[in-house]
Symmetry: C2
Subunit: 225 residues, 2 copies
């Protein structure tokens, strides 16, 4: 689910056979329009989902209105796992999404009797935790320039396609999402992207289409102290 630095391949194929949920036909699939919430922090945590198609964001809100984006969820990622009976974060669609409900939390959060699902979730959680640890480095140790360079590199590594020797990809999220993911302001994201563009490190066909032109320079920007 994490964007930052994961080398983990998508795992959508590894799911155990779909279960009938509540006996309701098709209750195990769901679609959601871009911008719509899947659940909110504090909602009763009934279902765990896997993203089949589209992109989501998970986030937490502070009392003062500030928001921290926890992760961007891509196909294969799992959202909604909770240690108790409520969700602990917001989850919204950034693009139109298709989801599979993997499991209904029928009054328990324990999985002793479902070893296949338990193992799937645990493995997913361990991957996610490793990625979250990378994200901590991002938030705690890096300058704004380093954060944005790292962010672009990680998206390029994972979702980029080679076009005429450049690595190109879409930035489906808004500048505000990137800002809240990296713990900087919208203005800083914008200024830094412009700086990279003017330095010839990236090319922006439009605000949401990035080509990494000078990978080496971008890597230096991502690690420079």
């Amino acid at each position: 689910m994490y964007v930052a630095f994961s080398k983990e391949p998508m795992r959508g194929i590894e799911l155990p056979p779909m279960q009938a949920l509540d006996g309701t036909v098709n209750s195990s699939n769901k679609t959601l329009k871009a911008g719509k919430p899947l659940f909110h922090e504090g909602d009763k945590a009934e279902l765990v989902y896997q993203i089949v198609e589209g992109i989501m964001r998970t986030s937490k809100l502070q009392a003062n209105g500030k928001r921290q984006i926890i992760s961007f969820g891509y196909p294969g990622d799992i959202v909604g796992l909770s240690p108790d009976q409520v969700y602990h974060y917001e989850c919204e669609a950034i693009l139109d999404v298709k989801l599979r409900a993997i499991r209904k939390n029928a009054g328990t959060t324990r999985y002793e009797n479902e070893p296949a699902i338990c193992d799937l979730f645990l493995h997913h959680a361990a991957v996610e935790m490793a990625n979250m640890q990378e994200h901590f480095m991002m938030l705690g140790c890096k300058s704004a320039t380093e954060k944005i360079a790292s962010f672009l590199l990680s998206l390029g590594e994972r979702y980029g396609e080679r076009v005429e020797n450049n690595i190109c990809f879409k930035l489906p999220m808004k500048r505000a999402d990137i800002a809240d993911f990296l713990g900087v302001t919208i203005e800083t994201v914008s200024r830094t992207m412009t700086k990279f563009r003017k330095a010839g490190m990236i090319h922006l066909a439009d605000a949401h289409t990035v080509c990494i032109v000078d990978m080496a320079a971008l890597k230096i920007s991502a690690e420079a102290e």
Copy 2:
């Protein structure tokens, strides 16, 4: 394992019966002196541990030498879980610790055949992830003053004892650990603690013994925008 805001009680008692590991007597227990490492990032991940006594820290290092403390581990917490065959962070003792090795990762990271352990780890992981999400808020959304106030409050809530109407507790870690946990400098930690002290919000018997004198004021400092 997380310090920030978890309401989860200690879970040391919930462990399944101790397993014989490699047939070696007592190989399942371990002690470590303060300051000594349990494992390093990149080490082969053979064992998962539960802290029985003492306090640990887990951290990651950047190329430029900067360090991010991921968590402070207290008794009951689990360290060493990994999605693959290597540890992804450093783990060191802050005080002398006693550990139980819960499981040897004998060439696999999957737990389908051990539902009790899998469920234990998954539940722990879900708690930990919820706590990490709180830590993201800390790093991404809060000012230095808010970070340090929040940190003191969370320690007070969890480990504090009431002494003459104040909440008192030990800060076993160094200022540098707190700084690297919160993503600020040592000087900022020191200055902010002094500020709280001079404002009559806390009392410091020594640098590692805190009493929260004015809880309400500290809570305001932790949330003020």
